[in-house]
Structure formats: C-alpha cells, structure tokens
C-alpha cells in the first residue's frame, strides 16, 4: 500500500508541477512523467491493458503532440503570466487537500453501495462482448478527430 500511496503522491506532485512551471517544454515533460506514474499505478491495480494504453498513448502520443504544438507556436509574443499564480495556486491547492481529506474520511464513507458479483472472462470478451457499442463510439470519435484536424488545417480558400 505504501508504494501505491507514494506513486499517487508522485503523480499529484508532477501534475501540479506541470501546471505551475513557467516554461512550456518543462511542463510538457512533467506531464509525461505524471502519466508514467499513472501507468505504473494501473499496472499495480492489475489493470494491464489500461496501463499500457496510458503509458503508450497518453505519455507518448499526447506529449509528442504537445511538444509539436509548442514548437509550431513559438513565433507568437511571450505571454506574461501573472506572478500571483505561484503563491495563489499552492495556497488554494493545500486548502483543498485538507478539505478533501476530511470529506473523504467523514462524509463519503457512508455512501451505500451494492456488493457486485465477481467478474468472469478476459478483458477481450468484456470489451468485445460486453461493451461493443463503445467500440462503435470509439470509431466515431476517431473519425471526428481526424476530420476535425483535416478541416482545421485545410489549405486553400479559407473563408473569413
């Protein structure tokens, strides 16, 4: 359990770092690190497929996309971030952590829940048999994303 909590704390730290860092590249990398931690957490929760996906897709692909965007938008003038963020953000964050802890310990413990039966079958047939409609949805989302990118980057007659 200690390792799990350590990983979780690492995850939260890197995420907060990703937001707080001034330099874009550094924050992208810390974001990748965070998703790495998350992947490991998934593995420890014996959710291998989710872990693989998390690491390869989120840590990999999305970070690459981020870096690509940072590169492409270098030309623009420097965005003056307000100085206040550095102390406002942690202050609120810590305050929320305390409230969050108390709430989790006190109130939410009492959420009634049904005991669910043991799961049968492998991940494959759960995904394929149980939630086939999700796959249709996924295909649709991918199509949507592709067409969106195509539309946004189309050359030629742009209509203002």
């Amino acid at each position: 359990m200690i390792v799990q909590t350590a990983l979780l704390v690492g995850l939260v730290l890197f995420s907060v770092l990703a937001i707080l860092l001034r330099d874009l590249l550094k924050s992208a990398i810390s974001l990748a690190a965070a998703s790495l931690f998350l992947g490991i957490i998934f593995f420890r929760m014996n959710a291998p497929y989710a872990g693989v996906f998390e690491i390869s897709v989120v840590a990999g692909l999305i970070t690459v996309l981020f870096i690509l965007t940072i590169a492409l938008t270098k030309a623009g003038d420097e965005v003056r971030e307000s100085r206040a963020v550095n102390w406002v953000f942690p202050l609120f964050f810590v305050a929320f952590i305390i409230i969050d802890a108390l709430v989790m310990k006190g109130l939410l413990r009492k959420i009634p829940a049904l005991a669910s039966g043991a799961e049968t079958g492998t991940f494959g047939d759960v995904l394929w048999k149980g939630r086939t409609f999700d796959l249709v949805g996924q295909i649709a989302v991918i199509l949507a994303g592709v067409f969106a990118v195509l539309a946004l980057f189309r050359k030629g007659d742009k209509h203002d």
């Binding site: 109130l107 959420i111 009634p112 829940a113 049904l114 005991a115 669910s116 394929w128 048999k129 149980g130 939630r131 086939t132 409609f133 999700d134 249709v136 949805g137 996924q138 295909i139 649709a140 989302v141 199509l143 949507a144 994303g145 067409f147 969106a148 195509l150 539309a151 946004l152 189309r154 030629g156 007659d157 742009k158 209509h159 203002d160």
Partner: protein
Amino acid sequence: MIILFVALPLVVAGILPLVGKVSRRVVPDLLANAALLFLLVYAAIAGRHLIAGGPVLQQLSWFGEPVAIRLALDGFSLLMLLAIALVGLAACLFSIDYMEHYGAKANYYALFLVMIAGMNGLVLATDLFNVYLFMEVAAVASYALVAFGLGRDELEAAFKYLMLSVVATAFILISVAVIFGMTGSLDFAAVAKALQELNAGAAVGVASAFFLMGFGLKAALIPFHAWLPDAHPSAPAPISAVLSGLLIKVSGVYAMTRIFLNVFGLTPALSTVLMSLGALSMVVAAFLALGQKDMKRMLAYSSISQVGYVVLGIGIGTPLGIAGGLFHLFNHALAKGLLFLTSGSVQQATGTRNLDEMGGLAKRMPITAATNLVGALSIAGVPPLNGFWSKLIIIIALVQSGHPVFAVIAVLTSVLTLWYYLLMQRKAFFGKLNEKWAAVKEAPFWMTAATVFLALLCVGIGILFSSTVTTWIQPAADVLADGVHAVIGSWGF
C-alpha cells in the same frame, strides 16, 4: 435495424473524403442528403410501427454470435430521432448552396454526418457511459464545425466552447463514476433498480448536481450558457441551425431528462431546481436577446431562453408538463433551425449580420422574410403556429400543478420574446428598403427550399397540432411519465 441510425451516417462520413477527391461538389451533396433523407423516412415510417409494439430492444449479432449492442428505441428516442432527421435534412439541403464559398465541402459533410451519428447514438444509448461517449463524438465534430470558417471569431468561439465543454464532460464522468461505484453497473434499467434499493439520498443528490452542471452546460441553461452566444453565431448558418436546433437539445435536454426521469427519478427538490433554472434562463436570456445588434447572436440568446421553457416544462414532472416540454422542444428545433437558416440567407445576400445595417429586405427577399416571420411568430408563441400550442400546454401544466408564479413568468417572457422578434422583423425585413441592398436578390434555390420546408412544417404542425401530439408527443411523454411514477413513488424525498 435501429443501429442504422448510427452506422449509416458513420459509413457515409467515412467514404465522403475519398469521394470528395473525385467530384468536389455534386456527389458529396447527393450522398449526404440521401443519407439524411433515408434516416428521416426510416424514422418517420419504420420507427412508428416499431413503436406500435412497445419499446424496441435491439440485440445485435455480428457475424452470427450475439454482440452486446443494446439499443432502446422508445417514444422519446423516436421523437428525438425524427427531430434530428428533419432539421438535419433541412440544414444539409441549405448547405448545398451556402457552403459553396466555404470550400472543402466533402470534409464539411463528413463532420456534419459524424455529428448526426453522435446525436443518434446518444439518443439510442441505454448505458450511462455510452451517453458520455456519443455526446463527446458530437461535441468534437461540433468544435470543428464551429471553427470551420477559420476566421478569428470562429476560432475564438470554438476554443472557448471546447474548453468549457471539456470541463462539463469531466463533471459528467465524475458523476458516472460515482454511480458506477455505487451500483456496480451502468445500464439505465439496472442502475434505476439498484438506486431504488440503495436509497442513498445525499449521494444521488450530489451526483445529480454534477449531472445538472454537465448537461446544463450542454443545454446552455443560464449560469452555464456563456459559450453559446459566441459559438452559434460564428458557426456557418446550417451548423448553427443544427447546433441550436438539435445539439443543445439532444446532448443537453434529452440526456438530462432521460437520466433524471428514467434513472434517478424526479424528486421534488430536483424538480424545483430544474424549474427555477428554466425560469431563470427564460427571463435573463430574453432580456439579453433584447439588446443584441447581431441577428444570429439574438437568435442564440433566444435559444437559451426557449430551452429554459423546455426545462421548465419538463421540470414540472406532471405528464402534461412533460408533454408540453417535449412538444416545445420539437417545435423550437424546427423554428429555430428555420430562423438560423434565414439568417444565413440574409448574411449571404447582404454580407452582414448587423441588424442596424439591414432594412426592408422583405422587398428583395420575400420568401426569406416570410419564412423568418413564420419562425419568429412560432417561437414567440403566437397562434396558429406550433410554438403557441406547446407554450399553452406548458402554461396549463404550470397552473394545474400549482405554480402560478412560474406561469406568470412564462407568460411575460413570451411577451418579451415577441418584443425582440418584432425588433428583428422591424430592423431586418419589415421597414423601408435600405438603398444599400437595392441590388440584393432572393437566396438561391436550395436555401429557400430548405427554409420553406421548415416553415411549412411549422404551419402544418400548428394547424394539425392535435394529431402531432397524439402520434409523436404523447408516447414520448408516457415513457417519461411512467418513469416518474415508478421511481418517485419509492424515493419519497
């Protein structure tokens, strides 16, 4: 075969870009409109008799062995499918001429059909997570479509729309996760049964608050509405017609109603919150619309206000209220779609959306002016058009269920609505012809055909309101009403 509603648009969307390479305009137009026409016919005729035998649970099989795509087609979903098909077809017809100068028509149609597929999927989903998934499909497609013009305003609007929607979907997922945690399953019926046994009042309250925020933003109720007045005007006219007419209703009102009435059960607390949100949206959005100079922005605020009516209607919880709400949802979809299409024709003819620059266009563009008038009067609730009957039923439901204050607010808001629509008529169509537009011609064929199609629908439903209510609206309301009785009985609070 109700999977067709989702599969067909996806498949056509898939092959469209390839086709787009071959012939830039004719085939994409043809294909897109044919698909939507088929959906309309299928929904109108096949759907009707499907329903005759009670809600249809479609168990699909993929190459022989059963596959777990459980789609439920009941009165409510069928009503939504019909609305989507109708307004979608009209917008598609409209975009044949309108999208000429946008270019990349095939890409546009692809995105359009994906959005339609997303909406159809959401309507047919019986699983909380699927609702999220297909909403996201439609949302992604709509971000791209809002930004389709690639202008400064379009991009800004699309970005803000995206960033706000993402937060909304995050909250929806939190709530789905909590429900999943409590009941262990995601299917509507199973969750409903499980929640009845658990009677975890507080937790469901918080979950419904999160859902309300998420779907409220999608439906653009007042505190969550800020993205809509920017997104809808900057989208190309047929898209803003579909956005205002369908998207905010399907991913906002439909999802909210389905979950609150069929899954959670409409508790008195939830009903009051829904009604107050609806009433707030009605009044504030109506006042905002009053002060607008931009025609499409006024229409956007009007959509917020009319969605407020629908939510108020459904929030009452009585069968009559729900019927009124749904009927108004359907009428508003048609009428608002029509209004956005006419604004598109005006924008294409005069090149401006600013009402002050327009003047007396009725002289040059009689059909557009007439159809705009029909749409405006229908939404303002002036008889004999369709908007009047739905508002009437809502007000009757309000008075009967003992909410006189809401009834008065609803009545006064419809006066306000008429005021700003008259403002629009006076500035754009009804006054003296502005000499700048002396050379303006009537909108091209397909655009006027689309607007006339919707206008005839509005007038037709207005006159044949009783048969429309009995064939389309009553079954949808019964589905929800049973939901309320079944659930509310047990929860009590």
